[in-house]
Amino acid sequence: MARVLINLPARAKRGEIIEIKTLIAHPMETGYRLGPTGAAIPRDFINRFLCTYNGEEVFRAALFPAIAANPFITFFTVATESGEIVFSWTDDHGETQTEVRQITVE
């Protein structure tokens, strides 16, 4: 499991625009670099990021090899109701890391 930092307000007013910041530890290896022995370092990066809010998709991103290591993705959404915000990162091997955060909307 990669280390993840997610920042979003724990409480928000209904209709408020909230900022969500995510940071995940990942080498984002492009597959184009050579290691110390001259052999190519195998490609390994996150190619998809998805955020759902109570099951509804609110943000999606496709990532390509120009993205630096430890991708930092920040975006805005509207606080509609209390519930779960789910974040998922999918890498080249098809493995998905999922993180869940709660938000209370008053």
């Binding site: 930092l5 940071l23 984002m28 430890n70």
Partner: protein, 254 residues
């Protein structure tokens, strides 16, 4: 590149080597661009915090024959507040100073009975970052005493010694020509205020030793090995030179 290097050498020839006056000292933070500074200022955007997070896990992880974690002896990591600003510090058993990475590995060997982390390994840098993070904001306060003096003198001598195919000393760039440009980059004053730093060029956290090796490769000198006494002496001199400047760990640098 060659023209620039020659320009630097020419400029240096004119000015006598002078130490930076305390009032003129500036952290690398002040030389970084607004985007890098914004990354450092916001803990939720600072990728160095991922290393601190990993270090926090390692702090509580049992290791070695003794089956002890850092936390089993030291307790809460807040006990480490004010420690990083004192390093490198003298270790009587070795009769030489240890930097924070060296101290952590010493602790692992002596008190945990565990193999030391490899130089510049991700775990070592992360644990160092976590310990140093506890001292963030505190002024650098490396000790001055008779035991450390010879190593301080060695560090100072190395800082002023011309090295490598370019025949440049640290001092020629960082004392005499700071604030000017070397290719596209501004030359900072070389104050180690935020180590381990997240360097965008590295795309990872790295130690002061790694930075020193980078600089030495830059002047085409043979870099010292990780943990070499010369590197620790240089670190000691740099910390003494930055005495009183606040620690920023984990800093973000270009």
């Amino acid at each position: 590149m060659r023209v620039l290097v020659l320009a630097v050498v020419a400029a240096t020839g004119a000015a006598a080597a002078a130490e930076i006056a305390p009032g003129d000292r500036r952290s690398g933070y002040d030389f970084a661009g607004p985007e890098s500074r914004a990354m450092q200022d916001d803990d939720t955007a600072n990728p160095g915090m991922l290393g601190v997070l990993q270090g926090e896990t390692l702090w509580a992880t049992k290791a070695g024959a003794a089956g002890r974690s850092c936390a089993d002896c030291h307790g809460d990591a807040r006990s480490m507040k004010g420690v990083a600003v004192r390093y490198p510090a003298f270790e009587p058993a070795l009769a030489q100073p240890l930097d924070l990475e060296g101290r952590i590995n010493w602790c692992r060997r002596e008190h945990q009975g565990a193999p030391p982390f490899a130089g510049e390994s991700e775990d070592l840098v992360a644990l160092t970052a976590f310990v140093a993070y506890q001292s963030r904001g505190l002024p650098i306060a490396v000790q001055e005493n008779a035991e450390l003096q010879p190593f301080l003198d060695l560090g100072k001598e190395l800082f002023h010694r011309r090295q490598g195919q370019l025949n440049l000393s640290c001092s020629q760039c960082h004392d005499d020509n700071w604030g000017k440009r070397l290719a596209g980059a501004v030359i900072p004053q070389a104050h180690p205020t935020g180590y381990p730093v997240y360097r965008l060029e590295w795309q990872s956290l790295g130690s002061l030793q790694r930075r020193l090796r980078n600089c030495m490769i830059g002047v085409r000198a043979e870099p010292y090995e990780y943990g070499a006494p010369e590197t620790v002496a240089l670190e000691l001199y740099l910390m003494e030179r930055a005495y009183g400047m606040p620690l920023e760990t984990p800093a973000v640098r270009p």
